[in-house]
């Protein structure tokens, strides 16, 4: 029997669905777990830890759990707090010296939009999917009414078409949904989960896990709200926050509305921090052709916001030219760099086409852009020839060739059947020292921020992130912990600058829960969440040998731009990493968090 928990701001309820048996139940989330891990990414990782008590579970087996986690801010109109974190065991990562056949890291990937808030409205603190349906299905949730419905007619549909088809089937535009495209169905390891045909939980192979469960989509709507601990204080904080978004940092607000993350395309290129030509350069000479101004003039028609967000950083429009296409969200910094600058593509409509096709298949644009870049470099270095690439002339900047390869990857056709596994797999396939320019950490491809400039920050960011290379990780322990906290609350990173002083995150959390969250306790929770992920990975066989950068960064110097000559100093990197372990109080031989550290963080249960 389900009991109402005393904990305010939550329901204490996890919607637990086993697709093998069709069993649908409400599982109690222990109050202690909510206190320690907050929600979203943190609580998701704790639930995953409990669901997978032993390491080495095949991420694509029915045993793996796929968690959709809103946070305590979800569903409340706290500005810019609509993120949904998908937590699962990653199909993307593997250790340098594997201890288990299927040893892989935790995967967490979050998306904006409206899905997370709607989970909360339906009366749940999370949704957990285990098992595997015997045929394609989707799940329809309206408060307590949960149905598993045949999705045979939708199987194979691109996300663009499916987005409308699902609404037609449901007959109610007020359902919020998330889904996979053909890439997830085909078990492409780098498949993503999308909502609104554009917003993606892109990283870490979440869509592949969803596909492995024969689950096409989840559609949800609801009528509920939790009871807050200190309702009046929450209302005061909310009106202060709304006022702050009107009055403070107006330049920042305009910045987001003007170009979203695409604004970073030009400035990152100028700063030498952009991934260009498979990370060979940090500056892209033709960046202006794909940057904000060009899109404002030629493509973007409208700005879109996530639930209760004043920033509206998503841009939609129509790209015309050689590749006419409807643009749901593009380019962002990541998508514009990985399929643009990184491949030396500056044809704006070509770039938009690549982004739109990727979103339609439902594939992680960061990983697929990185992989195409890797193959371009291998092709240029004549490690592979066009014969190997099914007669694709994969030269730098070639939109047609990239598009052909992208289709092959997403359909597992010919070379695509190999390439869809990412750069770590491909470098093992083609050999010839190609591992040196296979730009990944733990098997997960690096994102659009290049390493050599500000390498102290970016190298730590990538090598220590718990899902394998991750650009949202933060370059120091405290930044990493803050990032883990935001992902656990459901707050958006882009709006974090507003949440200081009297409207800080911990004050909101205190009002919601009615508990007195001090700044110290709150920060400690961030460290706890990050460390639990680390312990998950350690249990799966990842240790200090896996915290490494691709050799290219120590060997390749930038040849253009203000930062010509930039390279990562190996000694400096190693000493930074050593310093990092020291601050974290992790063992400097294994990188395992020390037992005292784990005890201090209330993670005794991870000590074997």
């Amino acid at each position: 029997m389900f009991k109402i928990i005393a904990m305010k701001g939550y329901y204490g309820k996890l919607l637990d669905i086993n697709l093998t048996t069709g069993e649908i139940k409400n599982t109690q989330i222990p109050e202690e777990d909510i206190k320690l891990f907050i929600g979203g990414r943190g609580l998701g990782t704790k639930i995953l830890w409990d669901k997978l008590p032993n390491p080495g579970v095949d991420p694509l087996s029915p045993e793996n759990a796929l968690l959709f986690m809103p946070g305590p801010f979800s569903g409340l109109p706290i500005p810019s707090s609509s993120r949904t974190t998908v937590v699962t065991k990653s199909p993307r990562t593997s250790a340098v010296n594997p201890k288990h056949e299927h040893g892989s890291t935790v995967s967490y990937s979050n998306m904006g939009g409206f899905f997370g808030p709607e989970i909360k409205f339906a009366g749940y603190d999370g949704i957990c999917i285990t098992g595997k349906a015997d045929k394609p299905v989707y799940i329809k949730i309206e408060d307590d009414n949960v149905e598993i419905i045949d999705a045979g007619k939708f199987w194979g549909m691109g996300t663009e078409e499916f987005d409308n088809a699902l609404i037609d089937e449901l007959g109610d535009r007020k359902f919020e949904s998330c889904y996979i495209g053909p890439a997830g169905e085909q078990l492409i390891p780098m498949a993503s989960i999308l909502n609104t045909a554009a917003r993606a939980a892109g990283r870490g192979g979440t869509g592949c896990v969803m596909g492995s469960k024969n689950l096409k989509a989840i559609a949800i709507k609801g009528t509920q709200s939790p009871v807050l601990g200190d309702h009046k204080t929450y209302l005061e904080l909310l009106s202060k926050a709304r006022k702050s978004f009107k009055d403070d940092h107006n330049d920042s607000l305009k910045f987001w509305r003007y170009g979203g993350t695409a604004n970073a395309l030009a400035y990152s290129s100028n700063n030498g921090t952009q991934a260009v030509k498979n990370y060979s350069e940090g500056t892209f000479g033709e960046v202006a052709k794909i940057a904000t101004e060009a899109n404002r003039e030629k493509v973007w028609k409208r700005d879109f916001a996530c639930f209760s967000c004043p920033l509206a950083c998503k841009k939609s429009g129509i790209a015309k030219g050689s590749y006419s296409v409807m643009v749901h969200d593009g380019p962002e910094y990541e998508t514009g760099t990985m399929l643009g600058a990184n491949l030396l593509i500056s044809d704006l409509s070509g770039l938009q086409k690549l982004i739109a096709v990727s979103d339609d298949y439902g594939i992680d644009i960061i990983s697929v852009g990185n992989t195409i870049g890797f193959l371009m470099e291998a092709y240029e270095k004549e490690i592979i020839d066009s014969n190997y690439l099914d007669n694709i002339d994969l030269t730098w900047g070639n939109v047609d060739a990239s598009l052909k390869l992208l289709h092959k990857i997403c359909k597992r056709e010919g070379i695509g059947d190999k390439a869809c596994n990412g750069v770590k797999f491909m470098s093992n396939e083609i050999g010839h020292d190609s591992h040196k320019f296979a730009i990944h950490v733990k098997g997960h491809e690096l994102a659009a921020w290049n390493v050599p400039v500000n390498s102290d920050r970016w190298s730590i960011t990538y090598v220590t992130s718990n899902r394998g290379a991750c650009h949202m990780n933060g370059g120091s322990p405290d930044k990493q912990d803050q990032s883990a906290l935001r992902d656990s609350l459901a707050a958006c990173n882009f709006a974090s600058r507003w949440y200081n002083g009297e409207i800080s995150y911990d004050k909101f959390l205190s009002a919601i829960t009615g508990m007195d969250w001090s700044k110290g306790e709150f920060d400690k929770a961030g460290t706890r969440i990050f460390t639990l992920e680390k312990m998950f990975n350690y249990r799966e066989g990842f240790d200090i040998n896996d915290d490494i950068l691709p050799p290219k960064f120590f060997e390749n110097k930038f040849t253009v731009g203000d930062h010509k000559g930039a390279i990562v100093d190996k000694k400096e990197f190693e000493s930074n990493l050593e310093e990092y372990y020291k601050i974290r109080e992790w063992d400097n031989e294994t990188s395992k968090p020390k037992n005292e550290t784990l005890t201090y963080l209330d993670l005794e249960f991870t000590i074997v």
Binding site: G75, P77, N164, T223, N263, A266, N271, G317
Partner: protein
């Protein structure tokens, strides 16, 4: 026209040159800034130059919104909202579909105000689950978001459709126009026939829906005691509480129809 400005940005102690370009068309601001942990933002502000060649559709909409003697919003969509003291006026919520970014803050604000909770004997805003909101934002693909709310129609097709006999003293049917111009339902007399909802769906935006438990009409705008919360909280100024021409064209206001027109206009796609 684009102008490039050279400026500087400090990053990790190094001064870097950044070229910032700004357009003299519709967007006046451009910025250079350090990503993620924002250190510094530089921006230039420049007045747009008047140049007939750069007269964009956005300008056109701006002009029709603010030009002339009255206030007209979205003339291209056929319903004209004119501020003119000589005319018969009614005050209601006007929606600028150009500005809406689909964040649904209005839904939360409406729901929170109109579904308050009582704490220590005091009535305060609820948590605002959009399910209980009177204003609704509908998302369409290709991307447009269409907010719809009760237009407080001058000719009240909903009230006209109500079959309940007018009260001998007040002259009110079960559904009636209140003194503050809003449409209200007398739950004591309402028979739950939903003819009001049918009339609204057929002739207007289809706002009125039955309450699932009582089967009585709801979602008529309350104007929140004269300070509509949707308007007060819209981050994009897409909503306004203004006086409007009473005989404005209120046909074809259903979200589907507006979406069709907007999508055709924006993306040049017929749906």
């Amino acid at each position: 026209m684009n102008i490039l400005i050279e400026t500087s940005i400090y990053s990790s102690g190094h001064k870097s040159k950044v070229f910032v370009s700004y357009s003299t068309e519709s967007y006046m601001y451009t910025y250079a800034y350090r990503f993620c942990n924002v250190l510094e933002i530089v921006y230039q502000k420049k007045k747009p130059m008047s140049n007939s060649k750069q007269y964009t559709r956005r300008h056109f909409l701006q002009d029709i919104a603010f030009g002339g003697s009255g206030l007209i919003v979205l003339g291209t969509f056929g319903f004209r909202i004119i501020k003119d003291t000589e005319q018969n006026l009614i005050k209601a919520i006007s929606i600028n579909f150009e500005k809406c970014a689909g964040c649904r803050t209005c839904e939360s604000a409406c729901s929170a105000f109109n579904h308050p909770i009582v704490i220590d004997g005091e009535k305060v805003n609820g948590l605002g689950n959009p399910h209980y909101s009177n204003i609704r934002v509908y998302h369409f693909n290709p991307d447009v978001d269409i907010p719809v709310t009760c237009a407080i129609c001058p000719d009240t097709p909903c009230v006209n459709a109500c079959p309940v006999e007018p009260d001998a003293i007040t002259g009110r049917k079960a559904l009636f126009r209140d003194n503050n111009m809003t449409i209200k339902n007398d739950t004591e007399r309402c028979i739950g026939c939903m003819q009001c909802a049918e009339a609204c769906a057929e002739l207007r935006a289809g706002i009125i829906h039955p309450n699932p438990k009582t089967n009585m009409p709801e979602r008529m705008c309350t104007l929140c005691n004269g300070n509509p919360q949707c308007v007060a909280n819209c981050p994009f100024d897409a909503l306004e509480y203004i006086e409007m021409h009473a005989d404005r064209d209120l046909a074809d206001l259903s979200p589907v129809k507006i979406a069709e027109r907007l999508i055709k206009e924006l993306y040049n796609i017929n749906v």
